[in-house]
Symmetry: D2
Subunit: 378 residues, 4 copies
């Protein structure tokens, strides 16, 4: 199948997440990265493009959107991997030209931008994919399918957590660029840890359980001295249909690197998954021994196999999970190009709804915390 | 050293926790169990006493307290292992006679009884030990000592959880005696899971962190159909001094047998301990590799060694942890008998303060939940 | 049931294993320790007996055997917990008086003594129990029962290992008493690590698989400078019926405390057990997800429950596993006293056959190693 | 940097390992796959090439070598991913044309071919890289560097194992293509499990320990009915310098997917690594708590970071480890093109020496087993 022509906004030489998106796009060989507006100045952009072997470099995403749309061989899709506050303007420029958008999360830095993004997506025929990459892990797909098939019975409890430790010390005062923008309200939005990682935990909890959060009560803290955004959050969750849950996210929990973990319990069984050991899924049917299901191993089903490349026991990781989002995006784009309706083409891909839900989650956490952890409806 | 003469109230043939107390008292050979009022009727009591080889059987704890106090070779201490609602009356009878009391938890089934218990202890010279047995685990002592010594820096976050699954199905309707009284407000008090297991998690969180819970917000549920008491609870915690935390306890989480787990994070490091693997303690000093400290292994200190019997790699378990409470109680009783002041003799043993704190925790959880998870001060 | 009157040879104040035997005898309340010849001199023995609250102290096991046999209330059984080279003479003295013997392992320090022990047992009506305590772990009983029931199909592979690290440095030159006698051929016999811990691994491999080792090829080393006995051994095993296996034991593998581990694989499934986490048993039926069976948890059977005291999730440990041997010994002794034939009374208890097999294993390892790891038939 | 032009021999549509090589070559964007002789017939080759978007398809590797060598834009390197018995002839064809070779392992199916391969490499200026991919894992590089730096002291013991379960049932009789050629001496050579996976374990043991195997004693079995090659092997190892070890590989151990595991112990400490959890490395300095070093986490050094793409806690897997070999091969090829001597350019890359050592290992295992596990010198 011919590869899709891809552009990228952001992701210049030093950016972490840009490199991840590029590898993810490359792993299954479904994209050619041919254009970019990689940095904040034309010069830096051009330098990054040269280093990366990207054919066409632009000084701004506006210029890039216009120029690429005008070319017969212009990009078919664009990845937006800037800091959060640029997501909306960039996405809008490409959506307006009918270019499919693959956007990093959280979707925007403000609720206003999120609402506007929703409108921009509604006004376009192009696909909008949000890289809630953790939903791309095979064993998360397995978990989602098992819950959907009723293997856990009625879902009662959802425990999500996402502890990290990289902001335990005040790194933003020590010249760490990642720490600077992620602790800056102007660039990250009102949420600190809840925006950066809490949204991932929230998204995963909803994706696997198949349930929406109806209301939440949140207690947010900033343990780092002088830090303006939360670096630790405790959240109680009430889901539609009566399930309850908790969500803990933290950037100040020493010993936790990227500890996203999800546990779901129903009337008939439970599931447990940990991002740092992603090839395993514990399944605990009530009254039977715990079972360790492995990616492409015995007991793993089609949902996992479909997004898996190599046999059980050969670990896939973060990049392969991320690549699954890209590969499904490629499938969806081709489907839309061939006439499939946009919604049908999305399948399990996270998009504008997940983006809105994530923004609502961040906002509700902050609003609840301002009101001493009162319940806030999403 | 001569063994202490011990009596027991409750713990007849079929009771789980009575047998545990007896083994715990026996492991280090510091007690002789010589008297009992083991069941609700004199006949059943006598039958149990005979089976267990206990010399003197009484028809009631009242009779036992009086008779034993009158004997030159009467019991020096008594274990109270009845359902919760009997704890107070029984303890009072023995305290009034100057007989040392070792009482199962939670301390009482009502706040009124708890306050009265506090008075009864104040009015007596005898020791009152509450078997918050999980504080007897060597690696919990290790953790407590490390926090106390400042190895974690300022404590910021305390995550405690205690999931079980044995009430996932409505066992109380199927003739399971343990399930009946534990789900019955008349015998257990206002707390279900929060009383039965949440108190353990709360106690452990405070014991290790050295911090008291100042206020909490709790969302309690009863997932079991027709169940009157909570079987799942989500609690947000605010500790004196600014630390924050969460506590989750559940009896309806399939795949969890007795999953008490504690994580404590400070400005300099973290600790993680799991009751089902009690010989291990993770220590994660910020910026260094995670370290797995083992009971009596390299890196474990005197606090753990003092309550440990055998070398590292030879696992000790629940019964040895419980035995540590008994053995320290024996030491404390002997110390008091030899003139040590009661408070000094207690050392790290849980007693009336921990009992009052536990009752306050249960009550606050229930009150908060009644008010839609409003903050309640303890 | 009336408690059995027990004596002890060896196990004075500083000995590790004596204390373990005493706790093991006490846990289930089936023995009263009433007599002892605890140390090498009458004075030390008396001092130890006083400390331990043992009523009758003897200057030698010979005197003790005679005197106790002559008393109406003399001991019914004796525990022998001396260094290996004393086992035979002590056991013989009590067997000759018809007193049941519970003997630490390895059975003797020489093959000659082992053969003589076999004769002494044959000449007596008393029971001879060898404390291969690891066979007392509930999940080992579970494993044995599963293999016996055919759940693994035909056994093909048995991997046993027992690494420790306590002799990595030359502790025997630094005044560590345990290290001194265990590295001394005169007191330990020809085997170092193979005698001390290899025998446990061999015994467990045979117990669970139900198979005997037919021949072996062993490569023994002494990495400790100047050490006379092996501190590391690699052994290839051929079992009766065609199964093959390996055994590794080591006292010089840093990071391993007491790492006894057994894996058994058949045509239909596999099992894996680790002594340091003894409440878990992995069962891997071919073509199905791995299952984690827990002590007294879902999926654990009667064989484990019969030697288990408390519910799943409440860990039992080394002492409880050891206590199971004592409790079954008590049952066996009572059965024999009530007329059950000696062999029938033994049940799964390790005795003279396991002792002989262990001695044959040690000897074969040493002989094979002398011949450059040639195959030696057991 | 301009991408290298790459060709591939073997790896048609259904082949597992060909797809792995292609992803590995793509992840770091250092290669363009532009030519192939992918299958055994020109038609199948062309079909595969079309599916994979490979520009130039050839009917045979001979034709491909000649044609590509003649083009100005011909391939600079070729990947050989056929069954083992084709490796030599294919490699020779490209080496003769000065085209760099990246060859799957084991190097050849016979010792004769191996010796001839050695000559072919000697006769060429081109690089010969053997994809012992497990040496590409970051934590294996970390382990190698730690041993090399003396952090373990003198190496005494090396325990390597590689259990799998996929041949437990006789899959080769059920039409499984992978099982057919891997159990066929004509295509795999004299070694079954020892050739397919034992070589990986052997290679890793030597790579990390820095030691060569001097002699070995091997006991090989074929448990699968009618199977001609070994499916289980027990091997005792003697390393140059006095270290000893064991190697177990098996394809009939139910519950093991791809369980390559390495443990190395020295006089000062130990290391433990498991391929299925490759981002972790246990380091156990004698007398200190065990430390869990994570990829790009605290305590991991430059050796691991150099072959790592994303932060700690974001798991990398098998494909990234494999990609490291490709990326280092790209570096080495560019270095050679720029005048660096071939040996210097190889760095830690496995090549002809590792290939010869692997063949010697396979042969020694088979020869030893024929002689009833006699010691065979490598």
């Amino acid at each position: 199948m011919a590869r899709l022509r891809l552009g990228m906004v952001g992701g210049g030489n030093d950016a972490f997440i840009g490199g991840v998106h590029r590898i993810a796009a490359r792993i299954d060989n479904r994209f050619d990265l041919v254009a970019g507006a990689l940095s904040s100045t034309p010069e830096k952009s051009a330098a990054s493009a040269e280093t990366l072997g990207i054919a066409r470099s632009y000084g701004s995403f506006t210029e890039m959107a216009k120029s690429e749309a005008a070319r017969a061989d212009g990009i078919e899709a664009v990845s937006i991997v800037t800091p959060n506050h640029v997501h909306f303007a960039a996405a809008k420029a490409f959506l307006a030209e009918g270019i499919h958008v693959i956007c990093d999360k959280p979707m925007t830095s403000t609720l206003e931008d999120a609402t506007a993004m929703q409108q921009a997506v509604a006004d376009s025929d192009a696909l909008f994919v949000l890289t809630h990459n953790y939903t791309g892990y095979p064993m998360i797909r397995q978990a989602q399918a098992m819950v959907h098939a009723g293997e856990l019975g009625d879902i009662r409890i959802v425990q999500a957590e996402y502890p990290q430790d990289w902001l335990t010390a005040p790194m933003e005062n020590e010249g760490v660029k990642q720490a600077e923008w992620r602790t800056d309200p102007a660039r990250s939005g009102v949420g600190g840890s809840v925006g950066d990682i809490g949204t991932h935990a929230h998204n995963l909890a909803c994706f696997v359980s198949g349930l929406a959060v109806e209301s939440l009560a949140a207690d947010l803290q900033s343990f780092g001295a002088g830090r303006k955004l939360d670096d630790n959050a405790h959240v109680m969750l009430r889901f539609a249909g009566g399930a309850r849950g908790m969500l803990w996210c933290s950037q100040v929990a020493p010993g936790n690197e990227n500890g996203l973990k999800l546990r779901v319990y129903g009337s008939k069984g439970g599931l447990e998954w940990h991002q740092e050991d992603p090839n395993y899924l514990w399944f605990t049917p009530l009254g039977e021994p715990k079972r360790l299901i492995t990616r492409n191993g015995a007991g793993a089903g089609q949902a996992a196999a479909a997004v898996s490349r190599i046999p059980g026991g050969h670990p896939e990781g973060y990049l392969e999970g991320f690549a699954n989002i890209y590969t499904e995006a490629a499938d969806a784009i081709r489907a839309v190009q061939n006439g499939t309706p946009r919604d049908a083409a999305m399948g399990l891909l996270p998009g504008i709804s997940e983006g809105m839900a994530g923004m609502a989650f961040i906002n509700a956490c902050v609003m609840s915390s301002w009101q001493d952890a009162a319940w806030v409806t999403l």
